[in-house]
Amino acid sequence: MANVIGNEADVIGSAASMELTTYREAVADGLARELRRDPAVVCLGEDIGAAGGVFKTTQGLFEEFGAERIWDTPISEQAILGLAMGAAMTGMRPVAEIMFSDFFAVCWDYLANEMPKMRYMTGGQVTIPLVVRTANGGGLGFGAQHSQAVENWTLTIPGLKIVAPSNPADVVGLMASAVRSEDPVVFFEHKGLFASKGEPAPDGHVVPLGQAAVARPGTEITVVALAATVPMALAAAERLAAEGVSVEVIDLRCLVPLDMATVLASVGKTSRLLIVEENPYQGGWGGTVASIVADEGFELLDAPVKRVAAACVPLPFADALEQQVIPTVDSVTAAIRSLLRY
């Protein structure tokens, strides 16, 4: 890709064909693949058309698919999700964008009361095949109303599938599954990962929902991570490998369906579990993972389950303050060390 430059050259290696792609480009690629495949797929959201998206995650879609497939909306989050749902109930496969996941709070009725409940409340009469995409997470200094990691908000609502990819190939593969899902899917794109690079997805790449990945195999401790905490956990594992410590990193990829089989199998091997989440400790998704391990994997453990999560404060603006609140490679590394000493 044109913008793989400079200091990434050593990562790319010598083969010209091994060009990396960014997470940001993968979002547009994943959408474009589904738009080409199925004429029922339509996109709607604020500034996603001619502008290419405020994060440039829909770059090129308007040019390729036109105004009949890529719809610019007013700043009306309730209308965006409501229209998507009404269209999904009547034969379309809409992909709605909510610019920042913090804005879920202004259209929460659709995420909490409408999309996840209508099939159930009608005894299965309606089907709601839609995707809600959103830019999620912190680390970019956007302050407390544009930086939250809110996967845990959606986890409180039965009836939503929840996807949060950590790398470009997974973005494409999980997008394919999300768009093809017959159920509503919330697709969290991490703002801190947009510029990150990885292997491009091969043609026809599909990653099933609810299938965690072993991002790095290891033997002494399991670290369960999601989205931006995956590269964080991998960096900590790399650091500790230099000290002879073997860390297994599990990328959950999805919170619903939640692949606890992979987590429990890993804990069965390592006997230690650390969960790394970007949301605040109170009410974080790691609490659900920990409770299942406590319930179903208690005898596998040789140490308490530990969670590294954000401090229970609104996210501060300054980098020096934000780094005190959300998990970092340092805090993850320290937590792994303390668990290994137990």
Binding site: G86, N113, R119
Partner: protein
């Protein structure tokens, strides 16, 4: 009488539908008092002409979205009184398998895509169904029925704006029964006609109509639907009407002045339809026979719903996902 889309035979049929709805609502009320309906109900007695008149002017494949006061819309679009009453009575044969209850009656196979209990939430959904119809070039329209109270919530305004900007084939029909719940709508709204007076802000044509006259409703909806199908965009209809019961089961509606109640009861939609039938020369015996038929239908519905079995407890864990199940782990 002015030219109308409703002929004499059709008017008698519409009268029968209204009579069935009225008796179904009365049955729901009685069954509640008998302890056979739990939760709450929001009865639509008095609103029948809006549902029946609108339905008469829609295509079978058009979409309808209603509110928690939605029994009349479900029945007008083809749900049977028995499956509606069975739903209210928590029976396996309920139209939503007893998973929705009174506030969520839905008959998707008939294009009745739900009753929504969060005020105003379904206006964007109807706009979405209209958008879908436009994208597919199907010629369908989508209708949102909503109360006067919904005109002061954000989703109403977001839906109207985008429906106008995108020229969507949508009809927004306000059932203005003068009270948002217990409070007169006029005392909490900046304009006298809560829906129609907002329409100019969104460049949408609007009309205030007599919601108790089934012919007036049918004519107005026919015109608006034709406009929508011609690609000319949405219409707002504000249909003035009145509840015969309180807001919900627990509300005796003592806040409504007796003279006002009396005045509206004298404008009962069934009486207005009867007067129209008489003016058209329909023999009174035909109307009486229609009433008897409606009474029989509802009596049989009550008996059938009472005799129906309760839901299988295992059904509590079905229908979350499209695969029929509720599993959230792999």
């Amino acid at each position: 009488m002015t030219t109308t889309t409703v002929g004499t035979d059709q008017l008698l049929a519409l009268y029968e539908q209204m009579a069935v709805i009225r008796r179904t609502e009365k049955a729901a009320h009685d069954l509640f008092l008998a302890g056979l309906v739990k939760g709450t109900t929001h009865l639509a007695a008095g609103h029948e002409a809006i549902a029946v008149g609108a339905s008469a002017s829609l295509r079978p494949d058009d979409y309808v979205f209603a509110t928690y006061r939605g029994h009349h819309h479900a029945i007008a679009r083809g749900a049977t009184p028995e499956e509606c009453l069975a739903e209210l009575m928590s029976k396996a044969t309920g139209v939503c398998k007893a998973k929705g209850g009174s506030m969520h009656l839905t008959k998707a196979a008939a294009g009745m895509l739900g009753s929504y209990a969060i005020v105003g939430a379904h206006l964007p959904l109807a706009a979405g169904a209209a958008w879908s119809a436009k994208l597919r070039g199907s010629g369908q329209v989508a209708v949102a029925f909503f109360g006067d109270g919904a005109t002061n919530i954000g989703a109403f305004h977001e839906a109207l704006n985008i429906a106008s900007v995108w020229s969507l084939p949508a009809l927004f029909i306000c059932e203005n029964n003068l009270y948002m719940e217990y409070t007169p709508i006029g005392s909490v709204t900046a304009v006298p006609s809560p829906a129609a007076d907002r329409a100019p802000a969104y460049a949408i044509p609007a009309e205030v109509i007599d919601g108790n006259d089934v012919v007036v409703v049918a004519d107005a909806v026919a015109k608006a639907a034709e406009r929508a199908r011609a690609g000319e965009g949405p219409t707002i209809l504000e249909a003035r009407t009145y509840r015969h019961f309180g807001h919900s089961r627990t509300d005796p509606a003592t806040y409504r002045p007796a003279e006002e109640v009396q005045e509206w009861l004298e404008r009962d939609p069934l009486d207005i339809a009867r007067a129209r039938l008489a003016a058209l020369g329909v023999p009174v015996e035909d109307v009486v026979a229609t009433d008897e038929r409606a009474a029989d239908v509802v009596a049989a519905a009550v008996a059938g719903a009472r005799a129906a079995p309760p839901p299988d407890p295992a059904d509590a864990l079905t229908d979350v996902w499209a695969d029929g199940g509720s599993s959230w782990r792999t």
